[in-house]
């Protein structure tokens, strides 16, 4: 006999399972991007008999509405993954779906936007002509095209340069027009390959703002980057790829283990600082001291500093950064690669 509550739980669970079944079987996916065991090998050498693995058995999902950062050093497989998703190259094994549809279904491209790495466009066109040209593939009417193109040029700060041929554009301007063509048709999923590349600090800030705006609008963004601070600032989750293999995936906090490794106090103290044992191992710059200590000793230390007449400027947690996590992975991969080379395997 089920109690009333237990019965309701069973019904609820059955409904959830049914919903999942419907999602899977009616082509509706919960994840915006689903990648399953994706691999890519490139033939090389005489008669192309040797194979180099560029991507190995990649499985991951990018959830609907999230900003996902794809991190990795040069040649790690970031661009390969993105090109596979965009069907610019074809996988050796594995599959991927975007918005529940196979990447082989070109009609799905109407709902995705893509910025290639170091984009290069038809340089005989002006920015306005290029966007109008791309907008035509999305079946927009002439008035819709005109409105969208004008709005987009303004958004990326190129409205004053819209009549200049792209051959006269700087790298940063090309990056902006690339971003504009990627989001022109208001796609549900936006894939950006190194969107900050070639931009000055102001340009980077503008791209960050655009990514955040896309997130606010509920769009899914997958972007690759080398710049870890950008990833930390923008991403809900990140995936770290090294040597063609996914080495970690999660929120930046999960990856670096958010548990604080201690506390750091920044203070100002003039005069008899030498009497305080607390300051013996501190880093000193003029009258400023930077002290690191275990969290359990924080309050006692603050009391002692207050007693000595110190002015506390800040108290912060010491946490490992995403950069440290990333560097550890890269170094471990390189060490493994050289060990394999030495052993001749």
């Amino acid at each position: 006999m089920f109690s009333g509550v237990a019965g309701c739980e069973h019904i609820a669970a059955a409904l959830v399972d049914g919903g999942r079944w419907l999602f899977k079987n009616m082509g509706m996916s919960q994840s915006a991007i689903e990648i399953e065991n994706l691999s890519k090998e490139y033939p090389y050498g005489f008669l192309s008999l040797k194979k180099r693995k560029s991507l190995e058995d990649l499985t991951m999902q990018v959830e609907d509405g999230e900003v996902f950062g794809f991190l990795g050093p040069n040649g790690a497989g970031k661009s390969t993954t993105i090109k596979l998703l965009m069907r610019l190259i074809f996988p050796t094994a594995g599959t991927a779906r975007i918005l529940g549809k196979s990447i082989d279904d070109v009609s799905m491209h109407g709902s995705i936007g893509y910025l290639p790495e170091q984009p290069y466009f038809y340089d005989y066109l002006t920015a306005h002509e290029l966007l109008d040209y791309f907008a035509r593939f999305h079946g927009l009417t002439a008035s819709d095209r005109a409105a969208r193109v004008a709005a987009m040029l303004k958004k990326v700060g190129l409205d004053t340069a819209k009549k200049i041929q792209l051959r006269k554009y700087s790298k940063g301007m090309l990056q902006r027009i690339g971003l504009a063509q990627a989001i022109l048709h208001e796609p549900k999923v936006v894939v950006l390959d190194e969107p900050m590349s070639g931009l000055d600090p102001l340009g980077r800030r503008e791209v960050r703002d655009i990514i955040l705006e896309l997130k606010r609008e509920g769009r899914t963004v997958l972007f690759s980057t080398h710049v870890l601070s950008d990833a930390e600032m923008l991403c809900d989750r990140v995936g770290v790829i090294v040597g063609g293999k996914l080495r970690g995936i999660g929120t930046p906090g999960e990856l670096v283990d958010m548990k604080a490794q201690g506390m750091e106090i920044l203070l100002e103290l003039s005069g008899a600082a030498g009497n305080l044992p607390l300051l013996e191992g501190a880093t000193r710059t003029g009258e400023r001291y930077r002290v690191q200590l275990p969290e359990t000793e924080l309050y006692a230390a603050l009391d002692a500093l207050k007693g000595a007449g110190a002015r506390i400027l800040s108290v912060t947690q010491i946490k490992p950064t995403l950069e440290e996590y990333f560097m550890n992975l890269v170094e471990a991969d390189r060490a493994q690669a050289s060990a394999v080379e030495v052993s001749g395997k």
Binding site: M86, L88, I112, Y114, Y124, H138, G139
Partner: protein, 258 residues
């Protein structure tokens, strides 16, 4: 077909902006010079010289454009990676190829039409009157255009799977072999193994028979071309281009970009 049309229009715009049609200036100067010269040195055969020279120039300039631009249609887009953003749009690869083909054929049509107009102006400047046989020149120009369209299709096919240099070599090779396809088909009185003869005939049917499009001799001497021949040549060109472009689309459909 909307995507094909969009790509074609942009390909034409590229040719115009990259000043491909500047060759028309050279052609105009050639025709004006020829008209003045033949007016002075030839008696009674001015028309033959102008028409012969004009049709040859249309053919040669057209072949150069079809060969080099035809190969560049796809390879340039792959080298410069302009293709990346385009293929991420809802555009099928065969639509891109077809658009590129029609864009260049459109360019060649404008080029050829302008050159033909130049030739007619040269004829007018010599005779100050039209002759009934002048209309046949248009037939020759049309057939040259069909020949150029086949060369563009071949250049596209080769550029889909090899380097631009090799694609130019292969296309030029097939063009030269295609000029001899008719001879291969009708070879007589040569002591050859029947197997080799069959192979030779087989190859001749695979190669584009460019003799189908050569009516220059008749037109230069003021003779007309039978309508059935023009129709046959048109159907042959359409069929040949369709087969070649289908092959190109099949190769390009699974081509990994850089």
């Amino acid at each position: 077909m909307r995507n094909v049309q969009t790509v074609a229009a942009n390909t034409f715009r590229e040719a115009v902006r990259d000043r491909v049609l500047y060759n028309l200036v050279f052609f105009a100067l050639l025709m004006i010079g020829a008209a003045i010269l033949v007016g002075q040195i030839s008696i009674g055969i001015e028309r033959d010289v102008i028409v012969s020279l004009g049709l040859s120039a249309i053919s040669v300039v057209g072949i150069i454009i079809a060969l080099f631009l035809g190969v560049a249609l796809v390879s340039k887009e792959m080298d410069k990676r302009t293709l990346y953003a385009l293929l991420a749009k809802p555009v099928k690869r065969w639509e891109f190829l077809l658009g590129k083909f029609f864009g260049l054929v459109m360019t060649l049509t404008v080029n050829t039409a302008a050159m033909a107009a130049g030739m007619y102006i040269a004829l007018w400047s010599v005779y100050r009157a039209w002759q009934p046989s002048d209309i046949f020149i248009l037939t020759a120009v049309y057939l040259i255009l069909l020949k150029l369209a086949i060369i563009v299709a071949l250049a596209l096919l080769f550029s889909c799977f090899t380097t631009p240099f090799l694609a130019i070599l292969f296309t030029a090779g097939v063009y030269v072999a295609g000029l001899l396809a008719g001879d291969l088909r009708t070879v007589r009185g040569v002591e050859l193994d029947p197997g080799a003869l069959r192979l030779m005939r087989g190859i001749s049917y695979v190669l584009p028979n460019f003799e189908n499009f050569n009516v220059m001799g008749a037109v230069v001497h003021g003779h007309g071309v039978p309508g059935v021949m023009v129709l046959q040549a048109t159907l042959y060109a359409i069929l040949y281009i369709a087969i070649v472009l289908t092959g190109a689309a099949m190769v390009f459909a699974r081509r990994n970009l850089k």
